[in-house]
Structure formats: structure tokens, C-alpha cells
């Protein structure tokens, strides 16, 4: 099962590292990353494989939300199907 992690907020040092290490702690494998910086707004989307995750989905989402609050970022973890169903026929 794959999920999409999105991170939006002000660009600061170490955003990617902090999200990636949270993934590693949860046994979540990062398969693809795209990021862009518009002026000083940072937007990143990460495709991750959660089939071998060591924690339930809900907890991963909660941990990412806590991380987002700490770093003043908006971080969402969502099942990839929500995007597939909305944008692909």
C-alpha cells in the first residue's frame, strides 16, 4: 500500500531530513520525492511504501501532524487512491 506525504510551508533547513527520518523510524520506505520552492514557500510531495510500516496508518498520520506543528508546516499523509480516483479516469 502506498501513501502520499505532502509538506507545505515556509522553507527552512532540514525539512526533508526531518520528514524522511520520521518515515525511517516508522519503517516507511520513501520511493519518490518531488519538491519545489516558489519564492519562499516550500512544497514537497513524497510517495512512500507503507506496506512494511511498523506502526498503524493513523499513528503515522498523527506523528507527521505533530512534526508539522513543531516546525510550522502543514504535513498530510493520505492514501494514494484519493488522488488517483480524483484525477485519473
Amino acid at each position: 500500500m502506498r501513501a502520499v506525504i505532502t509538506v507545505i510551508g515556509k522553507d527552512t533547513v532540514g525539512i526533508l531530513a526531518s520528514v524522511a527520518s520520521e518515515c525511517a523510524n516508522a519503517g516507511v520506505n520513501v520511493t519518490e520525492v518531488t519538491q519545489s520552492i516558489l519564492q519562499d514557500l516550500f512544497a514537497m510531495s513524497m510517495m512512500v511504501d507503507i506496506s512494511k510500516a511498523t506502526i498503524p496508518f493513523r499513528e503515522l498520520a498523527d506523528r507527521m501532524q505533530d512534526l508539522g506543528e513543531k516546525r510550522n508546516l502543514k504535513i498530510h499523509v493520505m492514501h494514494e487512491d484519493i488522488f488517483n480516483s480524483m484525477h485519473r479516469i
Binding site: 502520499v4 505532502t6 507545505i8 519518490e32 518531488t34 519545489s36 512544497a43 510531495s45 510517495m47 496508518f57 493513523r58 498520520a61 502543514k74 498530510h76 499523509v77 493520505m78 492514501h79 494514494e80 487512491d81 484519493i82 488522488f83 488517483n84 480516483s85 480524483m86 484525477h87
Partner: protein, 452 residues
Amino acid sequence: MLNTHDILETITMIEDEHLDVRTITMGISLLDCSDENIDKACDKVYDKICRYAGDLVKTGEDISKEYGIPIIHKRISVTPIAMIAAPCQSMNPVKFAKALERAAQTTGVNFIGGYSALVHKGFAPGDYALIQSIPEALSETEHVCSSVNIGSTKTGINMDAVAKMGRIIRKTAELTADRDCIGAAKLVVFCNAPEDNPFMAGAFHGAGEPDCVINVGVSGPGVVRAALAKAGDCDITEVANLVKRTAFKITRTGQLVAQEAARRLCVPFGIIDLSLAPTPAIGDSVAHILEEMGLETCGAHGTTAALALLNDAVKKGGVMASSHVGGLSGAFIPVTEDAGMIDAARSGALTLTKLEAMTAVCSVGLDMIVIPGDTTADIISGIIADEAAIGMVNTKTTAVRVIPAIGKAAGEELNFGGLLGEGPVMAVNRHSPARFIQRGGRIPAPLQSLKN
């Protein structure tokens, strides 16, 4: 890899534009719960609902968390209780309402619909007693919703039931006058009631439905409005196309949630209700979509045309996105539940007569309209008869959910709180239809040809 633009668009829809799945409603048949002993029947009703819907709320919350999409309501609809109560007709059916209330509290759902009767051609055993008990049932329960179908295109309109419902609505409001007359907000009178509607207060589980089913209602007026705002000054053809495209995306989300909920609960998927359901929150208003199209305020001349376009485009976009479509499907215009409608009603731009015209081209009918507390039962029946006639002749569902504000006059307000919202008391035409209503009998079913 998914396109970043698409990902951000979805997140913006959810975060900023109030995209949500409005309701997952589990329909449960209670036909096997009848019993001549009313206490036994009530126990069977309670047990069956709790057995089937025990995991409904948790499943909804899990799906919401995993897919990142809010699922606002988890609800239950049941077989019209008049059918279940028929064998014990000498007893007061309010016991069933209390059993439903207990089941709602145990399962954690926020509404349970089906304290209902279908009397579009006449009253069968159980119907009359149930309708008579509605005021008491709604005043003594919190989560139970009631509906009565009084007409259909194939049968005409049961004017005895129309007359009766005028009195029942008034009495329901009177019994809950200390709580802003909230009882009447949980009671809806239908013509052509759908059997698979997931939305309250009119949800019930029709007799032709399977034992248990999952129906889902989508929402997203804010998303449609935002898409139109971004498009700027395009022509009406483009407006319709944009609404279709947006409705498609909204409905696909609902389809995904419905299939997932059905799979996890091991219950068949029924239908998606293609709806634009507003809430009183800013940015979640159907009236604001109409205003975005170019009306100074909802209720202005041109409102009916704009709403017709919106309603049709929502269906066209949604139909392709879902495998089964049903319920009410279309734009809702509940006055107290829509920030734009509330403002338009307060300013006098939106009147009851304009709303009646609007109901001829959109999803439901006269919905969540607060009327003066001294409105007579005959006038309420007149409102019901007019609305039912629009539904009957146009082969569509129409409904009336008006709330007589006991002790209040036009210009004052009621506040229900939460999603039921608040709104001003709207003036009604005070000329009496009493003699017409009191004749009783049935309006014959209309011709289906010679359509002019």
C-alpha cells in the same frame, strides 16, 4: 508519480474549500423485527441496528484518517417504522422512537432516520398511529428523524395526509418550543420520496432495498464556487463545464469512500447521492455559487435559471464518476443551513415564493425554512400541497421542512446550533386555503403525456 499540481489541488479542496464526504448512511431493513408484542419488537429493532452498525462510526473515522478526507456524518436509516409497528397498532409507537434513540446512542451515529410512513395513496394499519405520534416522538428523542410521503407522480397527492401533516408540523414545533422548535427541523414531508436517500431528515430504508446497504452523500459547494472564481468572466457554457468537471472530482472521492466503507463493513454498496450540500460555515454555501455566477444576491431574478444550470451540471458531472447514483442527487437549498441563503433571507432578497420556484429545478424542496409562529395548520398544509404538486407534475422529489417559530413573528430568528444552523422567520402569505385543504380526498395522478 502523481502530478504535484493534482496533489496540491486535492489538498486545497479539502483544507480551504470544505470538500468533504457529507455522510455515510447505513440502511438497515427492520422487516424481520415485527412482533405483536411491542416490547419484543423494540428489542429486536435495537439489537439488529446495534449488530449491523456497531462498527459504522469507527470505520468512517478510520477511512477519514487514511484518505485525509473529512467524513462529517455517520448515520443510519431504517425501514419506515409504520410498517414494523403495524402488528402492534393498539400500542403507542413512540416506544419504537425510543428504541431507535437508544440504538443511535449505542452506535454513536448523529442521526437515525426512518420514523416514517408512506401514505401517498392512503393510510394502512400502523400509518395513522405513527403519524399521530410524531410530535411526541420527536420531542422525546434527540437523534430520531421522521418523514412522511404524501404524494407521488404515479398515485397523486393524498390530501387527507396533507391536511394532517400541517397539524402535525405545528404540534411538533409547539412541543419543542422551549428548544427553538427543533422537533420540526427533524420532520420532512415528501412527494416522490426516494428509498435510498442518505440525507436527513428524510432518510429511510425502502421496502425494496436489501437487508443492509451503504449509501454515501457527497458535498462541496465551496469547491465549485472556488473553481468558478478562478475562471473569472467566462461564458455560461464554460460555467456549466467547470461545474461538471468539479462535480466529477467531488463524486469520485465519494465513490472511493463508499466502496471502501462497504468493503470494510462487509455490506453492499448502494448509491452515491450526487449532492451539493451546504453548511452554515463560511465558504460552504450553495447561494454563494449562484452569486459567483453573477447574481448580486441569491433570490434576485435569474436565481432559478442559475440554480437549474448548477443542478443539471452537478448531475452530469457526477453520474460518470459513480457506478450507482440515487437518493436526492442535486443542489440543496436549506435556508438555515447555508450562510448565503441566511443573509439573502435576512435582507429580504430571498422570499418564500422565490424559494418555491427554485424547488422546481433543484434537488429537494422548501427546506429548513422558519415561518411565523402563528401560521395556521391549514396554511402549512397549503405550502405542502403546492410543493407536492411541483414534485408530482415534474416527476421529481420535493419536500417540505418548515419550522413554525412558536411565539415569534417575521424578522425574529431561531438558532438550532450546529449544522442545522440559524435563520430569520420568513413571511408567509396569510390568505387562507382552509376550505381547499379541509375537503380531503386525493388529487389524481397527472397525465404523463400532453406535456405543456
